[in-house]
Symmetry: C2
DNA sequence: CCGATTTTCTTGAATGAGTCAAGATCTCAC
DNA sequence: GTGAGATCTTGACTCATTCAAGAAAATCGG
């Protein structure tokens, strides 16, 4: 679990100014995996006191642009944020309750990175989303 | 290019009632690959005259549930619809202009269908989205 | 340390895709 | 042809996200 000092270092490395809202949001994204914006706003307010929702939106955009967090948005879901931004991992999404879990790229054969016909697009990322039922929803059904 | 009769057959095969809005929307999805809802509404109105936007939303949901069209929604985009619903193909999305092209699953090794660790989810689909720049945007840059 | 500069945050309003609800209309099985 | 149930129309509404303008704070050169 990174400390406030670590978060400050991350921001500086990314050439971003260090502000309280940014530290709070960065901590929230690390503490709440795959949280949506509202949950992040709540968490930030708990740790910081007042923070405008607009500030959180701005911070999340800045952090995403800087590569410190990754924004994901499965079909039918609001935007969610992932603290594992560096590695190219993927996600499993529950069709029933929307729960999200991480899935590592199978090492050795990165099959998902090459398209069979790239249509002359210059591809820089392959995003994989697995759809199914999480354990809880399987047993509830 | 399917005819109105073909569309009628598709609807009946899916146990859906045959109505003018449904025929118009189905034709629009086939004529406009990867169109968003607004484009489909426009196309439907051109061919049918008045159709409420609510009817188009309802029809698209019914067609999606029946498996006649596929709904896709890349991060940061509004919902789009794909007439190739049966095969499990994927998409390349241009980061700059949002253009979408189809990418077939490489035959023989369906790598994208198995997660390295499924977290006990019951996975039924793997969705792959390739991100990059389309030819037009590459040359414009 | 201090002011200047530029970024970032606050406040408050607006946008727009998508949904909800109630009643009218149409499809289809009989 | 007729009835039951699905589907469409109209119109209002939700809510995640964005826009705008000014206030506050972070960094940098001195």
């Amino acid at each position: 679990m990174p400390t406030t000092l670590d978060y400050e270092g991350m921001l500086r490395s990314a050439r971003l100014r260090v502000t309280r809202p940014r530290l709070g949001v960065l901590a929230a994204v690390h503490n709440l995996p795959h949280a949506d914006t509202e949950a992040i706003i709540d968490a930030a307010r708990t740790s910081l006191g007042d923070v405008s929702h607009q500030a959180v939106y701005d911070v999340l955009r800045a952090l995403t642009a800087a590569g410190l967090v990754r924004r994901i948005q499965p079909t039918g879901s609001v935007a969610r944020y992932d603290s594992r931004a560096a590695d190219n991992h993927h996600h499993v999404v529950c069709r029933s309750c929307g729960a999200i879990a991480d899935v590592d790229c199978a090492v050795g054969h990165a099959p998902c990175l090459t398209a069979s016909d790239d249509h002359d697009y210059l591809i820089d990322e392959a995003e994989v989303t697995y759809w199914g039922l999480c354990p809880a929803c399987r047993f509830a059904a």
